[in-house]
Structure formats: structure tokens, C-alpha cells
């Protein structure tokens, strides 16, 4: 069968479609966004045969996926690593309810924080929830594992987690597909207690989950995705998981490693294979992308023997992505390096696009805030986080989705005046509405600017749930009508905008200002499409 070029994200998406997916639920987030977009643009997605519309946030996505699995159909939920924090409540409890239709949770981690605020490792979440997880090492495995993950989920009536990392998500290679199979029929299990997590039921389900652990480990032991490859030289053995396996093999011509290698792509860890390696080899190097998840388990906190090395021992860096050179160094192989970067090369950080509406919003914010001094603008996650950089230097916090409003509230509660929150339209519907409700409930004097560019900009322009109705949402939540303003972020309106912001900063209650102008990227795409249609 011929191969198709796929990003890791796309290979996974194609596998889900081929395995009989009925719905994907997701909120966009780098590096996971392309999974859902691929399904949206697929034949089944466009025909509406597979649900693929964006969810409001990762929690609502996870819950919808649980609902689809409850109804007997195969569901997938996709997010970036920090999205799983948002979805953690339904995710953790989905391991207690178990699954009916195959339920696959895909989490794309971002080691080195290319587009993220931390580099948390989602394998811990799977272990925390006591469910199996998979970590593909390449695009073909991303396909094969995803296809198999739905079967695994249905065989053991459990959700499973697939962990991707940035390099695999966004790297392209040829992938061979399997046969397409039909979706499951609608089917409700005759087990009314399964999804009612009253304590009495949950205790029973939890024991059932605990009872599955041995079988999960046996599956890892016999998994086609975990391999023990023997080597002559027992001075060292290498455990390599996920994409780290590729970096290891890059260092050996033709993939011939002289040391025994244990490739891990399925968890829980197969302890028998680990024991074999530790018994057989003098030193064991653990190469893994992300946190020292395997290393920590293999060596334990006492590290009595001291012969397990990796990110904790310093053989590999404790943080950041791996690469072939770092693994070469850990193996004691000669390192390679080209010429140094010439001194005149300077950093070119990302910047707001020319013509971006946020530029005008920040110019107005900076002018309005000048008389109040520094430290009083609380921002959020999105393109507008770039307001932290010169020439704006306009914001002082960016922590998590929705935190701008509630952090401003906390600072006001502590006595800070005035406090301005800056949040995007999509981030507001993701996690800002309940924050705003807290402020309304207490009549906290905060001014909230919802930068409405009518899209989820940073991830490439996905639809925003509050398109055209932000004002109504705020009014409905309880913001007084005279303190809700739509403004136009353009140079021509600068003075007027500054005056509105300053007036509301003086108001001892909740105000919402909504600078409204379409994202320059989505606008230019729309214009091009319109022009093409005219031709």
C-alpha cells in the first residue's frame, strides 16, 4: 500500500477516522490543533458524519467525549498538555466510570515550551488516573497506536491516553494506512450504576479499575509497541521512550546499537522487561522526552545502586527537549557541531502582525494607565500576550486561561487600585466567564477589556464561540449596561478609547470594554476567498 505524507497530528487523526471514530472534541492549542482541523477537513468531517466542531474548552470537550462513549460510539478528545489541567476533573473520573465506546484522550506536550507556559508531562496524568497510556515514536506509530487504542479502550472498558510531543506532532513523514471500519451503532449499556458516581458506586468502580492494573501491565509486556532489542555490549542498557528512541537510533548507522535497548511506547511500564535490563546491564541510561517519568520509577527515590542514569543524574539535561546531540553526549559518543552563530545575528522574537487590532488596544491601554504607574494590567493567554514585549511592555501577568480577570480581582481584594484585565474573546468564553461572575457577585472594581478579534487567533484562526454576542453574555452575567462599551481599536479612535478606559477605571464596580476589530490574518484570508469566488 502506498504511503501518504502526514504530520504526526494528521497521522493520528487519520487513524481515528479509519478506526471508526464518531466524534472528536477539542479546544485548539499548539501543538494539538492540527488533529481536529484534519478531521474537520476530512470527507467525513465535512459531510457531518463525524462530529468535529470546536468545544468551548477542554473540560466541555472531555465531557462531551465521555457522553459519546456512554452512548456506545468511539470518541476522541484532543488538547495541549495544559488543557488537561482544565479537563482534569472529568478526565480523572472517566477512569472510574470506564468507557463504553472507545474513548481516546490525546494530549500533545510541549517540552522546551515552544508555545506554552510550562512543559508538564502528561504521562503522569495517565498514571494518576490509573489508565494505560501510549507514546508513539514516529508518525507510523502515531497511526498504528491510535487505531489500536480504540480497540484497547473497548476491550477493557477504559479510557486511554495518547501522549504526543511537539516534534512528532509537527513533523511529517510517510504513513501507511489500514482498512477503514464503520462506526459503532448507538448503544446504551444496561448498567445504570456505571456513570452514577455516588460514593457507593464509585467505591465499587474504583476497585474494578484497580483490578485491571495487572492486565494493563501484561498488555504493555506483550505490546507490539514496546520492544526489547538485545545488544552484545552489556556495559550499558538504554531505555528510550517515544521520540527519544529516534534520537538514540540516529546515533547508530543503520540502527545497529551495540547495547541492549528497551523501546517504550506503552504504559504502565512493563516491569519484567525493566528488571531484565537492570539485571543484565552495568548502567542503564533512560532517554525520555519530558520529565524523568521512567527514570524516577526505575531508580526510586533512594537510588541505592546509582547505576540508573538520565535526566535526574545529569547525564541528560533536566529540562527542555532532547535531540540527537544530547543523546550522543549521554552515550559518551563524540559530539558534532558546525560553526558558531556569528555575533551579529540577533534574536527575532514573534511580534504582533502589522495591522493587528491588539496594537491599537495596547496603545490605548498604555496611554490610559500611564498616570497609575506600573503593575496594574493583568493579561491572559493568546496573541495579545505579546503585549509583554517591547515596544508595548503593557502587561504584568499571564498565568493560565481566564486568570487575567480573577487575578485582577485578587489584587483588588488585596487593595490594589485600579486593576485592568486584558483577555481575548475566545479565552473569555473558554475560562473567563466564571471569573467575571465572581467579580459581579462581589461588585469588585475591575475593568475588563475583552479584545474581540472574532477568532482564536494564536492557533490559526478557529471560530470563536462568542462571535457577535460578547456584550449580551456580559449583560446576561450581570454587568450593568452603561458599563459595557464596544470600542473600535483604530488610531482614529485613540483619544476616545483612552477616555473610555480611564472613565471606567474610576468606576467602583465591574466594567467591560470590548475593542472590536477582526484579526488581520483571518480578514485577509476571507478577502482572498471572496476575491477568488468573484473570479
Amino acid at each position: 500500500m502506498s504511503k501518504t505524507l502526514f504530520l504526526g497530528d494528521e497521522a493520528l487523526a487519520q487513524a481515528a477516522l479509519d478506526a471508526g471514530l464518531s466524534g472528536v472534541y477539542a479546544y485548539p492549542g499548539t501543538p494539538s490543533t492540527e488533529i481536529t482541523e484534519f478531521i474537520q477537513n476530512s470527507k467525513q468531517g465535512r459531510a457531518g458524519e463525524v462530529h468535529s466542531i470546536w468545544a468551548g474548552n477542554e473540560k466541555t470537550a472531555m465531557e462531551s467525549a465521555i457522553g459519546m462513549s456512554y452512548a456506545g460510539k468511539r470518541a476522541m478528545v484532543c488538547m495541549k498538555h495544559v488543557g488537561l489541567n482544565v479537563a482534569a476533573d472529568p478526565f480523572m473520573n472517566s477512569s472510574i466510570t470506564g468507557a463504553n465506546g472507545g474513548l481516546v484522550v490525546v494530549v500533545a506536550d510541549d517540552p522546551s515550551m515552544h508555545s506554552s507556559q510550562d512543559e508538564q508531562d502528561s504521562r503522569y496524568y495517565a498514571k494518576f488516573a490509573l489508565i494505560p497510556s501510549f507514546e508513539p515514536s514516529n508518525q507510523q506509530e502515531a497511526y498504528d497506536i491510535t487505531y489500536a487504542a480504540f480497540d484497547f479502550s473497548e476491550k477493557y472498558h477504559t479510557p486511554v491516553l495518547i501522549r504526543l510531543t511537539t516534534r512528532l506532532s509537527h513533523s511529517r513523514a510517510g504513513v501507511e494506512r489500514k482498512a477503514e471500519r464503520p462506526q459503532n451503532p448507538l448503544h446504551i449499556e444496561d448498567n445504570p450504576k456505571q456513570y452514577i458516581l455516588l460514593p457507593a458506586n464509585a467505591r465499587v468502580h474504583y476497585r474494578t479499575l484497580l483490578g485491571k492494573q495487572e492486565a494493563f501491565e501484561n498488555e504493555s509486556l506483550n505490546s507490539p509497541f514496546n520492544k526489547y532489542i538485545d545488544g552484545e555490549n552489556k556495559k550499558m542498557g538504554i531505555i528510550a521512550s517515544g521520540i527519544a528512541y529516534n534520537y538514540l537510533m540516529e546515533n547508530f548507522e543503520g540502527g545497529k546499537c551495540p547495547y541492549p535497548v528497551l523501546k517504550i511506547s506503552q504504559y504502565p511500564l512493563p516491569s519484567k522487561l525493566i528488571a531484565k535490563m537492570v539485571d543484565e546491564c552495568e548502567t542503564v541510561l533512560v532517554a525520555e522526552e519530558g520529565y524523568p517519568f521512567i527514570e524516577e520509577q526505575v531508580r526510586g527515590i533512594l537510588n541505592r545502586t546509582g547505576n540508573i542514569i538520565g535526566r535526574l543524574s545529569g547525564a541528560l539535561p533536566r529540562d527542555g527537549e532532547l535531540n540527537p546531540n544530547l543523546v550522543a553526549k549521554a552515550l559518551g559518543l563524540p559530539d558534532s557541531y558546525g560553526a558558531p552563530v556569528p555575533e551579529l545575528v540577533v534574536p527575532r522574537p514573534p511580534a504582533l502582525c502589522v495591522g493587528c487590532p491588539h496594537i491599537d488596544s495596547y496603545n490605548a491601554i498604555n496611554a490610559a494607565m500611564e498616570k497609575y504607574g506600573k503593575g496594574k494590567v493583568f493579561a491572559d493567554i493568546g496573541c495579545y500576550t505579546l503585549g509583554a514585549l517591547p515596544p508595548y511592555n503593557a502587561i504584568y501577568t499571564t498565568v493560565d486561561m481566564g486568570a487575567s480577570i480573577t487575578m485582577a480581582k485578587g489584587a483588588v481584594d488585596a487593595g490594589l487600585r485600579p486593576a485592568l484585565a486584558v483577555i481575548g474573546d475566545s479565552t473569555f468564553t473558554h475560562s473567563g466567564m466564571t471569573s467575571l461572575l465572581d467579580c459581579i457577585y462581589e461588585k469588585t472594581p475591575v475593568t475588563v477589556m475583552i479584545l474581540d478579534n472574532s477568532t482564536t487567533g494564536m492557533t490559526g484562526g478557529q471560530d470563536s464561540h462568542a462571535l457577535g454576542v460578547l456584550g449580551e453574555i456580559c449583560k446576561g452575567l450581570g454587568v450593568e449596561e452603561e458599563h459595557i462599551h464596544r470600542i473600535t481599536p483604530l488610531k482614529a479612535h485613540h483619544e476616545e478609547n483612552v477616555a473610555i478606559i480611564q472613565k471606567e477605571l474610576e468606576y467602583e464596580g465591574v466594567s467591560v470594554i470590548i475593542p472590536t476589530r477582526e484579526c488581520i490574518q483571518t480578514l485577509s484570508r476571507r478577502m482572498k476567498k471572496q476575491q477568488a469566488a468573484k473570479k
Binding site: L5, H170, A173, E250, L344, R348, A351, M458
Partner: protein, 193 residues
Amino acid sequence: MKIDIILAGVGGQGILSIATIVGYAAVKRGMYMKQAEVHGMSQRGGDVQSHFRLSDQEIASDLIPMGKADMIISVEPMESLRYLPWLNPETGWLITNDQPFVNIPNYPDFDKLSAELGKLKNKVVINADKIAKDLGSARSANMVILGAASPYLGIPFEEIENAVRENFARKGEDVVNVNIACLRAGKEFAEKL
């Protein structure tokens, strides 16, 4: 046969279409390919790079080891220099546009920049913007660069031409022709050096 390329530029300059075209030609020849891209926040006018690997053997790593790249193909001169640590210092070739993309206040002095490029042993430095503009499509500078790199790719030129044709086919015959002209002009320039 194996060729490792770092593609470099600024977000929005079209380095990924170079990869798409060469990738199409390579896969058609039955070669293996891996291509790591940058998506997300850094795309907003920041520096972007792509590790692009072709081989007749299976490829292990998505990332090219430092000091091992056969080529840097860049649509921006300062960006081409950012990836020198990846270029094989003996045998590697650097192919770059000489037209700076200035979107930062501290962009280096142009003369110093070209002096730095001048120090390199194996290089093609080309005013791709002008060639593309003269041929009637300022946006096709990336095809000029690809043409300039084509003698070093180890893929027959006709196959790259076909890949360009395939890639732009849905945009109409005029677009195809101007891109092919840009590709050929780049190749001629490199061969005259």
C-alpha cells in the same frame, strides 16, 4: 543517498512550500522523508526553521544533528546564519536570499552581514527578490531560492520542475509558469557561479 537540509526564514516567508515541493519530488522517487516544522506562536513574524531530511534509507530522527546538515536554504540572510551550528563545516552549502527582512529595531548592518556571508566556503547568495520581481511575481522569491539550491539536491531538475507544476496547478497556468521561470532563473544563477 541522504540529504539533510535546514530551511530558514521569517514566519510567513514561505519556507514550508519549498519543503512541500522538494518533499513531493523525493517521495515520488520512493525516498524516505522527515520534515519537522514550527507552528504556533513563533510563526508571528519570528524566526522559523524546518529540519528537512531525505534518504533512500529509513530516517531515525526528525531533527538533524548539529554539524551534519548538507545544506541551509534560507529566504533571509540573517536567518541563514542562525543555523550555522547545524551545517557541516566542511562540506555543507549555504543558499540564501541576500535581501534582509527587517522587522526588528536592532537588525545588523547590511554590509557587515554580507561580509559575514562572504566568509563562508560553499555558498550561493542571490538577490531572489529582484529576480522574482523582474519575472513578474515578487511573491515567488522562494522558488528562485529553490532553483539556486537545485544543483545540490541530488534530484533531477525535471522532477523538481514537475513538483512545482503539481504544487501550483490549482492556481492556474500563469502562476505555474511564473514559478517555473523563477525556479529556472535561480538554477541558472547558481550554475554561473
